[in-house]
């Protein structure tokens, strides 16, 4: 049964998956040798050979996302991502996609709070083609106003599709905007609709000029390649670009929260949902810190494997919920949240569900966890690190996310080791000390009925407003 919470807890599914993978990936087996170089203009190039198939994945990571935006231009990073397919001086609009497709490639791009990523996957021999195209659009984008006027309509359709008509997304947007009041993580990646309506081509041009530079980019290549050959290609295509002077980024630290916050969102739905979000630390020093690892294990014990606590107690035994979820992602450029939530079972209320979730935290805070729970959470970690190596996408995602967060891809194995060293006492301690009301925001979806006339099995025609 698909969890209704999926959307709520992973506002950006792709990114969330790779971040989780970053925490549970490598170690046991001998690692494939990953090589790195930095071009004279400051662009970093990281290559991991994987010759299991004659294919390659190329990703250019720009360290620019909604975390860098301000009110009035929210969503500009993502709009620029769309415009990057609209032509350069040499390569006309749409031609980028046509050339990659004609080489048998798959390509796309995504924007998150922390970064904007352009990726292509194709036969390894075509790598020069995509590197040349990427290098070209790093500096030579046209940003034509007529193209922008059409594309901004597309982005508004995307916002309608992802957010306006998705109750879970509306709740999450409101939840984050309530939990965080100063840090720009409160800004939705896709931007507010009103900002999209008022965005100008000049806003996009300024953003491009300011942030699209070799010294704000990392090239990650995974696949059937030789690192030295990739370095040479990177030098050939990206090397001629001059670096930019990058604007200093301020921390914009969120002030301490001093009391519980509650918010309700009305939307068309059948049942209510509940999401609880505690402010939580983000990993900054992988060697010395332990709290983020303990929080990750805590979320694993609660909801990280078949038969874990939340599902067993709340869905199977007490039947208070039809779905539950928990999650924590401590890797990123800004503050983290520890999330729990679910949908109450028919006849139960969100208040019942909140009490039941709080009871599960209380149990761990007071009584700790059983040894086999820790073992099971670790078993998922160990197995997942092997499974992730079947996918070059997972491998590239791990490298890029760790780099983007400032942790460094070389710490992949350290992160894994640290997670395996978490003790039951540490899990108990973070449940007791961090999951407290003063740091909590609670969001409830208040379901609104469909107007009369909208019926699932209604008459096939003639039903109009």
């Amino acid at each position: 049964m698909p969890s209704r919470m999926t959307h709520t807890l992973t506002r950006l599914p792709l990114v969330a998956i790779t971040l989780i993978a970053a925490l549970v990936a490598p170690a046991v087996q001998a690692e494939p040798e990953t090589r790195e170089t930095v071009l004279k203009n400051g662009m970093k190039v990281i290559v991991r050979p994987d010759n299991r198939a004659p294919v390659v994945l190329s990703q250019v990571w720009y360290r620019i996302g909604s975390v860098d935006e301000t009110n009035g231009i929210t969503g500009v990073s993502h709009v620029l991502e769309h415009m990057m397919f609209k032509g350069t001086k040499k390569v006309p609009s749409g031609e980028f996609s046509r050339r990659v497709a004609a080489a048998g490639g798959k390509e796309n791009a995504f924007t998150s709070r922390d970064h904007t990523v352009y990726h292509q996957q194709l036969a390894a021999r075509h790598l020069p083609l995509v590197l040349e195209l990427e290098a070209d659009r790093m500096r030579n984008l046209v940003l034509d106003e007529a193209e922008f006027k059409k594309e901004i309509q597309v982005v508004m359709e995307e916002r309608r599709w992802r957010v306006e008509d998705q109750p879970g997304s509306l709740v999450y947007e409101t939840l984050v905007g309530t939990a965080l009041q100063a840090h720009p993580y409160r800004i939705p990646v896709i931007g507010y609709m009103d900002d999209l309506k008022n965005l100008s081509i000049e806003d996009v041009r300024a953003w491009y000029k300011r942030w699209y530079a070799p010294n704000n980019a990392t090239l990650v290549v995974v696949g059937d390649v030789e690192p030295e050959a990739v370095f040479k290609l990177a030098e050939k295509f990206f090397g001629p670009h001059k670096p930019s002077v990058l604007t200093a980024r301020k921390p914009q630290n969120e002030p301490v929260q001093n009391g519980i916050r509650r918010v309700r969102v009305k939307a068309v739905a059948e049942e209510p949902t509940l999401t609880m979000a505690w402010r939580a630390p983000t990993l900054t020093d992988p060697e010395r810190e332990w709290v983020p690892y303990a929080l990750d294990v805590l979320s694993g014990v609660l909801h990280g494997y078949p038969g874990a606590r939340l599902h067993t107690r709340l869905v199977r035994e007490q039947r208070i919920a039809v779905d539950v979820d928990a999650g924590y992602d401590g890797i990123g450029r800004g503050p983290s949240l520890f999330l729990m939530g679910g949908s109450p079972a028919p006849g139960r209320t969100v208040e019942d569900l909140e009490s039941a979730l709080r009871e599960q935290i209380r149990l761990i805070a007071q009584e700790g966890i059983r040894p086999e729970e820790l073992t099971r959470a670790r078993s998922q970690v160990i197995a997942s690190q092997v499974f992730a190596r079947d996918s070059i996408g997972h491998q590239a995602g791990m490298i890029g996310n760790l780099e983007s967060a400032g942790l460094g891809y070389r710490n992949e194995a350290l992160l894994l080791q640290k997670m395996r060293e978490v003790t039951p006492e540490q899990v108990q301690q973070v449940a007791r000390e961090l999951l407290v009301d003063d740091a909590l925001t609670v969001a409830v979806l208040d379901p609104q009925p469909l107007p009369a006339g909208a019926r699932p099995k209604g008459p096939p025609s003639g039903v109009r407003h």
Binding site: R52, G104, R160, E270, Y305, G307, V322, A383, A454
Partner: protein
């Protein structure tokens, strides 16, 4: 959801050329087994599939196939629901039931180290051979399913899917959808009789990809299928899907900001003689992502949608041909006109030589991406095997793509797609309801 469907359609669609070293045999009970050894990583992927999807429910209430598949893990002989999930968690393996219109079964991804492999695969064998479908858990899961269905029925994406499916498939089993009323009627006897009829050794297809040798794979295949009900499931074939006799146009009110539009009719089946012309043609029409005609006309030229696409989902019988998009509700009429004109023009003129060349280039050069890792190989071979396609299909795929001509595409679309008999569904179209 829609993206998932597109991904599946792409994944299950084409492929061939790179020679996959497939070993093939049958178990004592007649299950077909396919093995691709790959010892590069210490892991094994296993798929076991049966003709046990939604379309085989017969007179049982709609939703029986899904619940059966979902409730294997609710209890087996000698193991409770909690014991099953604890044992799975101890191995670190990922095991999930799969179900679509035609097929149902399991996929298992496990470490290949001795203890984990033994524990996870014997667990799957136990689940398959002695499901108990306990009444108390059945009632709980029915309640959860009904709750999920009621929620889904408030969403425009569900409303459009359902109305489209009804309009295209009518009374055919492909047109059935579970609803709260049908799920409420499901009994333990329905699940047990469905299991005994459909999950039979003689109809099972087992695929293994990864770190296991032939002897180990033979033993594993026997263990997974040896205790299943014997023989082949009956019936073994579905009734044919009738072409639409007339156009239909359903409009469903909803307060969403975007209209959800689907246009289509019955398409083609696996192994269809027109498969390659329709598949290559559809890449050009609306299957090729950013480079398709639909995307060009609807998104690039007019900014009307974030996502617009067309696809065929080939099934045992003719699955859907569908063009879909979402656009702000006041643009529904314009978007629908553009879609119809784009289809008509494509059918009248066929693709250009340049379009066909680009399509072939993508599908042939992109072939390695379809079998680049264990998971993709598993899914691809499982598709070929489940649909009784010859293994040569894989090796001959790129040649078959390369042989397609403009005339063949125009001819196949003309015979198989009738713009005068399209089913159209629009949810939340028109001016704002307020």
């Amino acid at each position: 959801m829609r993206l998932l469907i597109i991904l599946c359609a792409i994944l299950f669609a084409p492929l061939a050329q790179a020679k996959l070293p497939i070993q093939q045999w049958q178990t004592a009970g007649g299950s077909r087994v396919y093995l691709i050894e790959n010892h590069g990583l210490p892991m094994l992927d296993v798929s076991i599939q049966f003709r046990a999807g939604h379309a085989w429910e017969g007179a049982r209430p709609a939703g029986t196939a899904s619940l059966t598949s979902h409730l294997f893990a609710a209890g087996s002989k000698g193991m409770s629901e909690q014991q099953i999930s604890d044992r799975l968690a101890d191995t670190g393996a990922q095991m999930a039931p799969t179900v679509d219109d035609d097929m149902a079964g399991f996929s298992l991804r496990t470490l290949s180290s001795a203890a984990e492999l033994e524990s996870s695969t014997s667990l799957l064998a136990t689940l398959l051979s002695s499901p108990q479908f306990p009444d108390a858990i059945l009632e709980r899961e029915k309640a959860r399913t009904i709750s999920g269905l009621k929620e889904a029925e408030t969403k425009p994406e569900t409303l459009v899917d359902r109305a489209f499916s009804t309009a295209v498939f009518g009374q055919h089993p492909y047109g059935r959808d579970a609803d709260p009323e049908s799920v409420a009627r499901i009994t333990r006897d329905d699940l047990m009789s469905f299991y005994r009829e459909r999950y039979r050794a003689g109809g099972a297809v087992v695929v293994m990809v990864g770190d296991i040798d032939r002897a180990g794979a033979e033993a594993l295949a026997e263990r997974l299928t040896g205790s299943l009900p014997a023989g082949e499931p009956q019936p073994w074939t579905l009734p044919p899907v009738a072409a639409l006799a007339a156009a239909s146009d359903a409009r469903i009110a909803h307060p969403a900001t975007q209209a959800h539009i689907q246009v289509g009719q019955p398409g083609m089946k696996r192994g269809d003689p027109d498969y390659f012309p329709l598949f290559v043609g559809n890449y050009i029409l609306g299957g090729g992502g950013f480079v398709s005609r639909m995307t060009d006309e609807v998104r690039q030229k007019r900014g009307l949608a974030y996502s617009v696409y067309s696809y065929f989902i080939p099934r045992l019988e003719n699955g859907p041909f569908m063009i879909g998009l979402q656009t702000k509700r006041e643009s529904a009429g314009e978007a629908l006109s553009v879609v119809r004109e784009t289809l008509s023009r494509f059918m009248a003129e066929g693709p250009t030589a340049a379009e066909l060349k680009a399509a072939k280039s993508n599908l042939i050069d992109g072939f390695p991406l379809r079998i680049e890792n264990n998971r993709k190989i598993l899914d691809y071979v499982a598709m070929v095997a489940s649909y009784d396609l010859p293994l040569s299909y894989i090796d001959e795929f790129t040649a078959a793509v390369d042989a397609v001509t403009i005339d063949q595409i125009r001819d196949a679309f003309k015979r198989r797609i009738d713009p005068a008999h399209m089913a159209t569904v629009v949810v939340a179209g028109g001016d704002s309801p307020q």
